[in-house]
């Protein structure tokens, strides 16, 4: 297979090129100038300081969720419920922000803890549904994502609606003390960067250097033999889910406390699903995760500017990243395929070539 060799040499140019070609065709189909459009996207993400800070501010919660997903993916879990865990983190943080009065550092600490509990709870339900109810985490997670969205809409239009009447758009802005201190009137909060560095370091350490990380790997690679080695699949599954849920919860808190200043209708902005794509595109290599998440954040922010400027739907950013991930999933691992085949049956591989 010369194609895969060629692919390896030119990595990661080919998937980027593939997605650029695909989106160019789409843009041409809509009568838009592709070069101008991509220019608008780049300007939208790095055109001036405030735009770059927006990319940073969008990147942080996505990276928090991606970091959590590294743990669940290691344990072999498809935590699609991460989206709902982000939303529940946001809801829990908003609850504290709306109902509690305290000095700012204390209040923020309580908000973060509540967010971790909210995200963790939503994740633990998925975990228990899997271990006790044998409901696959994809379905449990998906149902809980939708329930979290419905709960948010209920809160916004009901108990937490602003005093001047519900608009279905969001709660009233939180008190100033509840918000994360932001950098130069942007949506970027330096404290959230500290959160993400701690989380990333913690995950890096526990996956590469602890017994727990080893157990998760065993569980992810082969649940049956892990069981015989004395790894409790129920305990590790729920722990991994809790860990990821807590990080996703912090991501939700960062969304309400620094990206917005209130609980909004689509509070997550699809960050959970994007985080799943990030980890898949990184092919579970931890150091690629921040880089890819940053790239995604730039693309998504850029596509919003594209929509403002050209009236083209901002889903173009999602298409760009989606095609890239699809391409990598289809062709990125062909080397491994070839290796496996060669080991198993040399002659047939040779014949086929």
């Amino acid at each position: 297979m010369n194609f895969s060799k060629w692919l390896r040499v030119s990595w990661p140019v080919v998937p980027i090129l593939a997605s650029l070609i695909f989106t160019t065709v789409l843009l041409l189909g809509f009568g838009a100038n592709p070069i101008e459009s991509f220019q608008a996207m780049i300007e939208g993400s790095f055109g001036d300081r405030s735009k770059t800070l927006s990319v940073l501010a969008f990147w942080i919660p996505m990276l928090l969720a991606s970091t959590g997903l590294l743990v669940t993916f290691t344990a072999g879990l498809w935590n699609i419920g991460v989206e709902g865990q982000i939303i529940m983190g946001a809801v829990a943080a908003s609850w504290v922000a709306l109902k509690v009065t305290a000095p700012s550092p204390l209040l923020i600490g309580m908000e973060i803890l509540a967010a971790m509990a909210g995200g963790g709870l939503w994740a633990a339900i998925v975990g228990v549904l899997k271990t006790r109810g044998r409901v696959h985490e994809i379905f449990g997670g998906l149902a809980l994502n939708n329930l979290a969205i419905i709960l948010t809409n209920y809160l916004i239009s009901g108990p937490w609606q602003p005093p001047e009447g519900g608009t279905f758009r969001g709660t009233q802005p939180f008190q100033e003390a509840a918000l994360l201190p932001r950098f130069a009137e942007s949506r970027f909060s330096p404290i959230s960067l500290v959160f993400v560095i701690i989380a990333f370091g913690l995950v890096l350490l526990s996956l590469s250097g602890t017994y727990w990380g080893l157990k998760l790997k065993a569980l992810g690679k082969n649940p049956r033999s892990a069981f015989f080695l004395g790894v409790s699949s129920e305990r590790e599954t729920i722990l991994a889910m809790l860990f990821c849920g807590a990080l996703a919860g912090i991501a939700g808190a960062v969304r309400v406390l620094s990206w917005f200043d209130s609980l909004r209708q689509s509070i997550s902005g699809g960050i959970g699903y994007l985080a799943l794509l990030v980890v898949m595109l990184a092919m579970f290599r931890i150091f690629w995760v921040p880089i890819i998440a940053f790239f995604f954040s730039a693309v998504l922010n850029g596509s919003i500017t594209l929509q403002l400027r050209t009236q083209l739907h901002s889903s173009l950013g999602g298409i760009l990243t989606g095609v890239m991930v699809l391409f990598v999933l289809l062709f990125g691992n062909l080397n491994a395929l070839r290796r496996k085949r060669t080991e198993e049956n040399v002659e047939i591989v040779d014949e086929q070539r």
Binding site: V135, L151, S315, G322, L329, L337
Partner: protein
């Protein structure tokens, strides 16, 4: 509530359930052959959008349905090619296609949102429609509903009563044994993944051209996932799956009725019903609690209850088969 009202409600339930029935039949065929097409939600969105736009442009609903089927086949082909030929993770590919289909449908359909277009007309079947109760329920509908109902029976007959159906199930249960008996396992899997995809595409278009007319951003979002859950609840049988689809269709009608009766309860409470039910039905068919419940029943009831409640997936579902 009198009988006439009940009949109207039940016939609307069957109408509401018809696209789900078609999608569930399609995915059941695919999964019975051993392949998971997880992209249903994205496929249905793309198919709903394409079906509507093509029907609008050509002014012909059937061309719309055809184009939707082609969209479904393309998505299914990517899954089949990725998992069978390239031997990559079909769940991952399906998930990415779900998101991609969602975004693509938003982008491609952006100029066609909230505009009126063609749709399917009612087509009562003479004589049969005059049968009391059954007539208005099953024979006073439109072609999509008739197609869905015939499809259920045909799929069941095909899977369990014909030789190609046996080969289809063998590819999903015991591919190695099937292969040694001369069944081209991967060829079978390609065929039924693509065929199932075509049905999923038709299901998507049945929303935009029959039930939820037109196109809007995220028009059918979530329904693909519900269809996937019904396949499990249906125990990979088209008849039981159709029953599940009707159950979900009923919740939709039930919510409308309840909402009219109790306007003080928030709308959002009713929106949560399908998702709570999704978890509940999956728990019912697979949890250890059900096992326990069956084990404490009188012995005579245990076997029939087990057959009624428990399901088990095709043994080789989601696995890769190496023909060499």
């Amino acid at each position: 509530m009198n009988n006439a009202e009940l009949i109207i409600i039940f016939s609307s339930i069957i109408l509401q359930a018809s696209p789900l029935i078609i999608a569930v039949c399609g995915e059941t065929i695919t999964e019975r052959s051993g392949v998971i097409n997880l992209s249903l939600d994205g496929t249905m969105l793309m198919a709903a959008m394409t079906g509507f736009v093509v029907a609008l442009k050509s002014n012909n609903v059937w061309v719309g349905f055809l184009s939707a089927a082609v969209v479904g086949m393309v998505f299914a082909l990517i899954i089949a090619f990725g998992s069978i030929r390239l031997k990559q993770n079909q769940v991952a590919i399906g998930f990415v296609l779900t998101l991609l289909g969602d975004d693509l449908s938003s982008f491609l359909g952006q100029n066609f949102t909230r505009i009126p277009g063609p749709f399917i007309k009612k087509l009562a079947i003479p004589v049969l429609k005059d049968i009391p109760i059954l007539g208005p329920l099953f024979f006073d509908q439109n072609l999509v509903v008739y197609f869905a109902l015939i499809l259920v029976v045909f799929t069941w007959w095909f899977m369990f009563r014909t030789r190609p159906g046996l080969q289809l199930r063998a590819a999903g249960e015991r591919p190695a044994a099937a292969f040694s008996r001369g069944v081209g396992v991967n060829r079978v899997r390609y065929l039924y993944t693509i065929l199932g995809g075509a049905l999923v595409g038709i299901a998507g278009a049945s929303y935009s051209l029959n039930i939820k007319l037109g196109w809007s951003d995220g028009h059918t979002r979530g329904l693909g996932w519900i269809a996937l859950a019904i396949v499990i609840f249906g125990g990979w049988s088209p008849i039981r799956g159709a029953f599940g689809a009707i159950l979900f269709g009923a919740t939709k009608s039930l919510a409308t009725v309840l909402q009219r009766r109790y306007p003080e309860v928030s709308v959002v409470a009713f929106n949560s019903i399908p998702w709570i039910m999704m978890i509940a039905v999956l728990l019912l068919v697979s949890s250890q609690f059900t096992d326990w419940l069956i084990s404490v029943m009188p012995r005579r009831l245990q076997r029939p209850l087990h057959q009624l409640l428990k399901v088990s997936p095709p043994m080789a579902l989601g696995t890769i088969f190496e023909e060499d």
